[in-house]
Amino acid sequence: MTRKSTLRWLPLLSAAAILGACQTTPKPATEAPKTSEAASPADSASGAGSVQPVRRPAPVTGTPLPGTVQDFVINVSDRVFFDVDQYDVREDAAVILERQAAWLKRYPAVQVRIEGNADERGTREYNIALGSRRASAVRDYLVGLGVSPSRISTVSFGKERPIDPGADDEAFRRNRNAHTAIVSGAR
């Protein structure tokens, strides 16, 4: 992961860290002064003793049910990326496509649509053609791994449906992709 994409996830990660810390030590607020060596905003408000403690609700964790769209997106990954102006399947993409193929074989009712995308550093119609090549390359790869071609359709959005609004190399890298969208048959 590059520096920028790490930064993008940082707020989420730190929020998770805070939640995690709270979960392990659910203490009444009155005990806060005991840990006051480390300055925290709560300390300054702890002077009044009249506040009644309220127990934090117990955490609820979730995980996708097997065979659902969420299972595919989170546990398999639904997008592979391409080099500039290229449509051949890279090694990192091949790893993901192998997982996609295995998942699709496990859930044979699922139909997918491969959506080819291009970055904005090309003109509109050429990028439609380039996105078609990428979608087709992914379809061919999945078929080569044993997924029936009758389960796969393709489309190209060219540069019209970016996933990153940025105008830098990192955004372009993310926008050169093929997205495997589940059309039907997920549990």
Partner: protein
Amino acid sequence: MRMSAAALLIACLVLAGLSGAPSPARAEIEVDVNRGDIRPLPLSIPDFSGDRGGDIARVISDNLGRSGLFAPIDSGGRTAEVSTEPDFAVWKSLGAQALLNGQVNLVDGRLQVDFRLWDTFAGQQLLGLQFTSTPENWRRVAHKISDAVYERLTGEKGYFDSRVVFVSESGGRLNRTLRLAVMDQDGANPSYLTDGSEIALSPRFSASSQEITYMSLRPSGSTVYLLNLETGRRESLGQFQGMVFAPRFSPDGAQVAFAVERNGNSDIWIMNLVNRQSRRLTSDPAIDTSPAFSPDGSKVVFNSDRGGSPQLYVMDASGGGARRISFGEGRYTSPVWSPNGDHIAFTRQSGGKFHIGVMRPDGSDERTLTSSYMDEGPTWAPNSRVLLFSRQEAGGEPRLWTVDVTGRILKPAPYSSGASDPAWSPLIN
């Protein structure tokens, strides 16, 4: 969007010259559209007398000013009666080399506009005409007057009585709404043609200016449509196995060329609109797309990466004899033949920038006209003197811009919302 039938009934009468000369004398003033270093001609267009007179004068003034060939001069509230010879000394003192004056009358419910164009230094009348139409059609009358003045002073046909179809873009950088819209060339009367529920791309006019073809893109695939602006009737070119995109009419309107993708490979096809038979023009394993006919219909210029990168090729409209014409630095896409046949305009990508350029149809005399983060998709004005294209700054939304064929007169188009993929109509008849 519906054209009034009355719009097509602009009557034209030549007014008798006040100076007694039956036909306009040769002007001493002349505007040379071929010179890039031209100084715009100062001319004055005082408000026409009568109802809508000020509005009509302003539309004409804006048209001529935007061309970059003319510099409208504020008349300082002065008017000039069309029935008498102007006091040339007054207009000369304002710096005006030409004067356009006129008067508007309502005759039996019809709008009648008399106007005269004068050479203030020679003291001569250059043009005296009367246009008649319906009162609600006043803007179109103003465009016809603009064209008459432009033609009289430059010797070239005008381009103001025309429209532009384009893709309206709204809603930010992600999940943009892309819908088809049409407007007059000066940005007036914009209206949407599609509702934005599907992506609409690459609209193109037929030679009649009344029909367009465009591509519609949904998750389930793409469709090429023909849309009649007058009736609102829309029909599909039919079902294709893969993506179908980049449609263009042949000059006679009897055929549409487009790209069809099969198993990742895009080739150029052509459909006869009478019998609906399609024929494949290219069968190369490379990307072939963005076809555009020569104005005589005999050739097609298109985009292909068969040589390793996207370049421009010209072939016979029957499909044979493809030959590369772009040899400069970078990648060439979106070619479009000028209506007069002299040039092919294109988008060129090099050095991290996008450029609009022109070259001769044999690839010679290449010129770069513009440069920015993203300049794309040129279309020609009906007189082959001006190009409209879309420009997008990094992280921004695309806007329409114009540049003249010399590359010296570069301006934002008179439409200030997100827009791309413009296509200029022929002159409306």
